[in-house]
Assembly symmetry: C2
Homo-oligomer: 372 residues x 2
């Protein structure tokens, strides 16, 4: 079956909901950890599940290049291949083509995008149909449409023609989609232009996808513009389908997204920060390499229920990180993912109690974005 | 309390026994995984325990430099620092001083060894007393005497004077030892000289340690010489104390050691092999990078009971390893450690049934040392 979205409560625009999939049900708003190459970096599936993440994301572009979608299909699909029986969403590969192509060079044509592999420089063409065919074989629970992520800034003419092409690509991908158990989300583009966001939303919704993503944010446009991009699109999305804000994982951005009616978020931030020794806390990020933690025998957060905080001190994690021991990044990844998932749990509680605004203000007052 | 060794059965010289420690009891022969910097590389303590390793080793030299023994002591000792409540043995730092000193330069004097840190080139002096004081603070269950690992080959005069100095160092370390709950093992040296091995064994045993290690093997002397080094020393060791062969982890060497009466083994081999994509199997080592595993959806070993073999295919592990995903090394480390621990389990069963020789021959017939 396709996924089913159930809207259970609203607090202004913030939504409490549930998504039913063939691999289990999860509540929304939800943060999705990223498992780029069929694993959330350095973590076992059990460690990922212990963070209570309801769904994870894996990257079509990366799996296409390594090990190849046919290997995954022969393994019985991505769930079996990576030993993860919970819900999985795959992206379209579009973002990676634009950000990872060798020398950042690519040639965008009507048929698709020509570029060179970031691994071996091999010339490749990714088309809307191929993206969907790969995702069909990966057999994720949710597939994403192939789109162009418009750079910021972009002039109006370019943004308009790109937005129109992304709509044509969405249609082609939808027509090519052939996996009855897999849901397909459309992606709203339009750059920073209000009328293009509206146009993209209305036209994408007409195609009747199983959910909608707001794409092309967090490409360096600044927070105010990013929030406006959401505002400009989300009002045209149907209430009975999930909304997903791609690539967003800063706690304050999650709160701003939820306030506007977003249900799903993903970001490599928690695992990437971890590998550099950083941890989320309710008072902002901290860097465990800081000498002041050398003899700090308290956990990262006293009231955090994650595996790391229940068993390890800042002193020990600092020792691992400064000694280049991988386990340090593993322990921080567990904490950071749990931090964001826990944030969405608190958000859900707040929406349920109709005090989301108050919760958001209190969180932001304490939280500072800087690493200190 | 100090450790207690119980010899429960003998099959010729092979010994089945038990070691009681303040952090639990384990059976011998036993393989010890190495947790160099207060963690078995990339593994959580739970993952280590699931391999049924009865005791782990951690490195005094490394912990002395990072994070420093005082930090570990303030944390409440090594067990608490690294969240591992099972038995821990610490080595003396001697081997690392000789093998890791910057530019391999060191100056061996009666008082100890002068050398430069492999991290920052800082000039350091490690003495028998300091090695023991550091280990006292780390609060491991078993500490090791500070010794010189004689290079191979070494001329007789050098080997003799070094062996005598190691005996003086053993005495100084024993006198400096001040941790009532910590046991202390003596180390037999003597190079490849039969009379020096005998002399070292007899004189070390006179000092009455809680156990004895045969050191200075596996320094490139070849298998025949290595086994003879054991033969030349072990006959002078008391039956009522455990015997430990340092740095040995090749399956066949473990079997040869057990045959001669060794109870404990340690080696970085299972984790180091893992990081390079290699796995132990009963038919010898295999390298998962090999293209033939690309679509091999069977586990490393069908009858292995480890976490990795129960949940992952060669195809998936190959994908992780060739994509430089750390989880690949984690999964292989789990398998490789379990392989060696399981080998000692089978060895114990064989001794118990008095058919160790038969077991050993059958194992060796199947097993090939080459990586293929």
């Amino acid at each position: 079956m396709k996924i089913k979205y159930e809207l259970t409560k609203k607090d202004n625009n913030a939504r409490l909901g549930k998504i039913y999939t063939n691999h289990g049900t999860f509540e929304t708003p939800m943060f999705m950890p990223v498992g780029t190459l069929a694993n959330v970096k350095t973590l076992t599936p059990e460690q990922v599940k212990a963070t209570h993440a309801g769904i994870i994301l894996s990257n079509t572009y990366h799996l296409w290049l390594r090990p190849g979608e046919d290997v995954v299909k022969k393994a019985g699909g991505l769930h079996k291949f990576m030993n993860y029986d919970g819900p999985i969403l795959t992206d379209s590969g579009g973002f990676q083509v634009f950000s990872l192509a060798k020398n950042k060079k690519k040639d965008i044509k009507e048929e698709g995008v020509y570029f060179k592999s970031h691994i071996d420089g091999r010339e490749l063409l990714l088309t809307p149909e191929l993206s969907i065919q790969i995702q069909n074989k990966l057999d994720s629970d949710i597939a994403m449409s192939f789109d162009e992520c418009i750079p910021y800034p972009a002039d109006y003419e370019y943004a308009k023609s790109s937005t129109e092409r992304t709509l044509r690509w969405a249609k082609r991908g939808k027509d090519a989609h052939q996996n009855e158990k897999q849901s397909l989300f459309g992606i709203i583009q339009g750059g920073a232009y209000e009328d293009l966001r509206k146009y993209s939303a209305i036209e994408t919704v007409k195609m009747d996808f199983d959910g909608y993503s707001i794409g092309g944010t967090s490409v360096g446009e600044g927070k105010t513009t990013m929030y406006k991009m959401i505002d400009d699109a989300i009002k045209y999305l149907p209430e009975d389908k999930p909304r997903y804000l791609m690539g967003v994982g800063e706690p304050i951005d999650i709160l701003e997204g939820v306030e506007r009616g977003i249900d799903m978020f993903d970001c490599v931030l928690p695992t990437r920060l971890a590998r550099h020794g950083n941890a989320f806390t309710k008072e902002g990020k901290i860097n465990l390499k800081n000498a002041k933690y050398k003899e700090d025998f308290s956990p990262i957060e006293n009231d955090c229920d994650c595996y790391t905080c229940k068993h390890y001190t800042k002193s020990y994690i600092r020792h691992l990180i400064t000694s280049n021991e991988v386990l340090g990044g593993t322990l921080l990844s567990i904490h950071n993912i749990r931090f964001l998932v826990h944030l969405t749990e608190e958000i859900r509680d707040a929406i349920n109690q109709k005090n989301f605004q108050e919760y958001k203000q209190k969180f932001i007052e304490k939280y500072k974005n800087n690493i200190h």
